[in-house]
């Protein structure tokens, strides 16, 4: 290692004691699987959102003050519009790189929420929300809600004709809450619609309140994941009490860092090459104007779809009519997010399963949860597609009513069908013991009476591997690892096993001996450690004498 780096870290350690925590963090083991990258996409697009968002705040004016536009976009020149809309036009046409930043911000938001949803599906279908991860599941659900809310508010900030219509719909939805609706709406909008307060308020919520909440909860989300250690898929030698994967530094850190750049690159490519939300074509928002075919961004699609599919029933109770939009736009999301956040407890109630689970379920191995999940997901996917009824009808030259009714029928019919098909498929693909293992070769003989006998081939009783035919490929060994890991292990064993993860592993000490060492099947950089052993190899690994010196220093303090 570089002398200077060594000196700096030592300097820092003598003052902050970074060696202890730093070492265990750098040596942290992360299970490596592509499906664990989905949450990372969300995290990285959030970082892109923060950067591009800061850029946009430098030019955006959160005000509904009406001004006459004299900017560079000719078809709107001389029109009266809000400062918010005028400043968004300014960002799009006159600020250098303003448009690419705006488009990157918008694409990043779309990808952020999409990644959250796919990540959520991964966690759900692998049962990774089970004990001890219920809290993190709830935090994740709240993050999803916050992301959707902030997405909608951000979409509304330009104050263009399309998003203004969205705010109008939001006002009516808030109004539809029985008893308190109109008070709530007036409270939120600072008076009757449209008023002057909503854009500045949305701005504060969008750039301050919700991002702060997201950052805080994200830190908690990752902190809990770090503390509990990531789940892993079942595989030979992976147990509920160990973590097999790549070490944080350098392998995982560089892999994740590279993936951040890939995420940023894809978002930048979309922002630079594909137009999103051309607000200059939409014009300023004026309450009496409306454009047909107003859709929200995709993550609000299921709510828009629910509004479209809801029959025009009028429900009267206790002498009051409950507004029709209350059911699809307030009750549905309310129930959805309540059930979503409480799912770990709902499932526990059904399965009575109170065990600690650090191994993921394979979706096919839990047919009822997988098929139920697919059924529910299908329900929301139908709602999502229903938000584009008009575009579908127009694109395929068919009747809008036909499309609408088709979706109404599909909404009821498709979820059970999808669930049933999934159930059959999971049953079909469930793991069968012995399946896939080679059959022992036998010799079949027929006696004179016509009786058949099958006798295992001589000398092949153990497993019956036909060696000439199936010789597994040689895997190169990583010698360096092995040698220095031995050193760390012998030093760590006593102290760290009684440390952090003690409660979750009884008898972890005895398992330790068997499990340490480079993995046979894994390629480079993959090895196992017991779940409660923070370090084995890495930046400070293999420097026993150095460790002891540090320990001594800490004792002195």
């Amino acid at each position: 290692m570089n002398k200077r780096v060594e000196k700096t870290t030592e300097w820092l350690d003598e003052r902050l004691g970074i060696a202890k925590g730093g070492r265990s963090s750098l040596n942290k083991i992360f299970p490596d699987h592509w499906s664990f990258m989905l949450g990372e996409i969300a995290l990285y697009s959030f970082i892109v959102l923060l950067f591009t968002g800061v850029f946009l705040t430098l030019f955006y004016v959160p005000s509904t003050q009406q001004i006459i536009y004299h900017g560079s976009y000719a078809p709107l020149r001389g029109q009266s519009m809000s400062e918010a809309y005028a400043s968004t036009l300014h960002i799009s046409f006159s600020v250098r790189a303003g448009l690419v930043m705006r488009q990157m911000h918008h694409w990043a938001a779309n990808i952020f929420i999409a990644a959250i949803v796919v990540h959520l599906c991964r966690v759900f279908f692998t049962g990774s929300f089970r004990k001890p991860r219920e809290i993190n599941w709830i935090i994740g659900s709240i993050l999803l809600i916050l992301a959707i809310v902030n997405g909608f508010i951000g979409y509304s900030l330009p104050d263009d004709l399309i998003s203004g219509t969205g705010i109008r719909i939001a006002f009516s939805i808030v109004e539809s809450v029985p008893l308190v609706g109109s008070y709530l709406a007036f409270f939120l909008f600072g008076g009757n619609y449209p008023g002057n307060a909503i854009i500045p308020r949305f701005y504060t919520i969008h750039v301050l309140l919700v991002p702060a909440l997201i950052v805080g909860l994200l830190a908690a989300h990752l902190g809990i994941m770090y503390h509990q250690k990531h789940t892993q898929y079942p595989a030979p030698k992976r147990t509920n009490k160990n973590v097999v994967g790549t070490v944080f530094w350098p392998t995982y850190a560089l892999e994740a860092g590279g993936f951040f750049f890939i995420t940023a690159a894809v978002i930048a490519a979309l922002g630079g090459l594909v137009q999103i939300n051309p607000i200059w074509l939409y014009g300023p928002y004026v309450p009496y104007k409306v454009s047909y075919a107003v859709q929200p961004d995709w993550y609000m699609g299921w709510l828009d779809g629910a509004l479209r599919l809801m029959p025009s029933w009028e429900v009267v109770g206790f002498g009051h009519m409950i507004p029709n939009v209350f059911f699809p736009a307030v009750l549905l999301p309310g129930l959805t997010f309540t059930a979503l956040s409480l799912w770990p407890f709902i499932e526990k109630k059904i399965t009575k399963d109170d065990e600690v689970h650090n191994l993921c379920d394979r979706p096919r191995d839990n047919p009822w949860r997988t098929s139920l999940g697919v059924g529910i997901l299908t329900f929301y996917i139908v709602l999502f597609f229903a938000s584009s009824t008009d575009v579908l009808a127009n694109t395929f030259n068919t009747s809008l009513n036909l499309v609408l009714w088709t979706f109404r029928v599909l909404l009821i019919a498709l979820p059970p069908v999808a669930g049933y098909v999934t159930y059959m498929l999971t049953k079909e693909t469930e793991v069968v013991e012995e399946a896939g293992s080679r059959r022992p070769p036998v010799v079949i003989t027929r006696s004179l009476d016509g009786e058949y006998h099958s006798v295992p081939v001589a000398g092949d009783e153990a497993g019956g591997v036909v060696k000439e035919e199936f010789e597994p490929m040689e895997v190169p060994e990583e010698k360096e690892y092995e040698s220095f890991m031995g050193g760390v292990a012998s030093e760590h064993r006593d102290k760290d096993l009684v440390g952090v993860g003690e409660s979750s592993s009884k008898g972890g000490g005895s398992a330790f001996h068997d499990e340490i060492g480079p993995s046979r099947s894994g390629g480079s950089g993959i090895f196992r450690v017991p779940r409660n052993l923070p370090g084995s190899g890495g930046l400070f690994g293999g420097r026993g004498s150095r460790r002891q010196r540090r320990r001594g220093g800490q004792d002195r303090q």
């Binding site: 299970p31 999409a114 890939i262 922002g271 075919a293």
Partner: protein, 288 residues
């Protein structure tokens, strides 16, 4: 350190290198593209303002925004023949209508010109909304039919010729968003409205046809008469609709101007889908 770094396998090292390169390249390309386009846009707007100034000085004041003219009466005999051959089966020889088709007398030349010249007439299927299709008659033949029908009874507007150079595009945008966007959508792509009824796309429609549609209200479209929109206002709208057909459109691929539906499609399938493929490449696989 040296030892651990070697444990990175080559594909991941490649991922890092390529991703860093890719992001830098795209970032720079984006910056350059938008730096360039905003400069071009400014130039374009300067040019249009110069043009507008010119139009004010030269075509100016008393030049009417729209002139309505009936086709010359010399075309009536040709029009009569064409009408009898192609239209009279449904509309009757004197264009008086039948149980299948409406009375055309007194509707004026603009109505006839719109329906025939956009290819909607002769009608393919009377049970559904008339669709725009390749026109059957030349400009001269169309004018001839219009001349014949408008000669049968007085009334209705003549064929408009729109003076768009003097029109105000910003005024047009405002009028368009008030009067037209509620069906044709704000970008003019058109959309499905109700049971088998739709607002057609405004792309590829000429100035005369736009003005005719506004003044005569074909099909389900309302008619905007002189009391609703002045000639100058119609000319403004025409100018904006013509602009919408080739708008100033920075920011890359336009995705059909239908809004968040296609944007969501691209965001999920290409954005997230692409990233998932990258993740699959960078991340590990299940181990057995």
């Amino acid at each position: 350190m040296k030892v651990s770094l070697r444990s990175l396998n080559s594909s991941k090292a490649r991922a890092l290198g390529i991703s860093a390169l890719l992001s830098t390249a795209v970032g720079f390309a984006g910056m350059l593209a938008f730096g360039g386009s905003s400069a071009a846009a400014q130039q374009a707007t300067q040019q249009t303002s110069v043009k507008e100034a010119k139009s004010v000085t030269f075509t100016q004041a008393n030049a009417p925004a729209i002139v309505y003219k009936n086709p010359p009466s010399s075309l009536i005999p040709e029009g009569r023949t064409l009408f009898i051959e192609n239209c009279s089966t449904c509309h009757g020889i004197d264009a008086g209508g039948s149980s299948r088709a409406p009375n055309l007398q007194g509707l004026g030349a603009a109505t006839i010109d719109f329906w025939v010249y956009t290819g909607r007439m002769p009608l393919e299927d009377p049970t559904v909304q008339a669709v725009q299709k390749p026109r059957k008659f030349t400009r001269q033949q169309t004018l001839a039919i219009a001349a014949y029908v408008s000669s049968l009874a007085p009334g209705g507007p003549g064929i408009p010729s729109v003076n768009v150079t003097g029109a105000n595009i910003s005024q047009g945008q405002s009028l368009f968003s008030t009067n037209c966007a509620a069906c044709h959508t704000i970008t003019g792509v058109g959309d499905a409205l109700a049971n088998n009824v739709y607002a057609p796309s405004l792309y590829g429609v000429g100035a005369t046809q736009i003005a005719e549609a506004v003044r005569t209200g074909p099909g389900n479209m309302p008619r905007f008469g002189n009391g609703t929109l002045s000639n100058a206002q119609v000319a403004d709208i025409v100018k904006y609709v013509l602009y919408l057909q080739r708008p100033q459109d920075p920011g890359g691929l336009a995705l059909g101007h239908v809004g968040p539906v296609t944007e969501g499609f691209v965001g999920i399938l290409i954005g997230l889908g692409g990233l998932m493929l990258f993740g699959y490449w960078v991340g590990g696989r299940a181990q057995r």
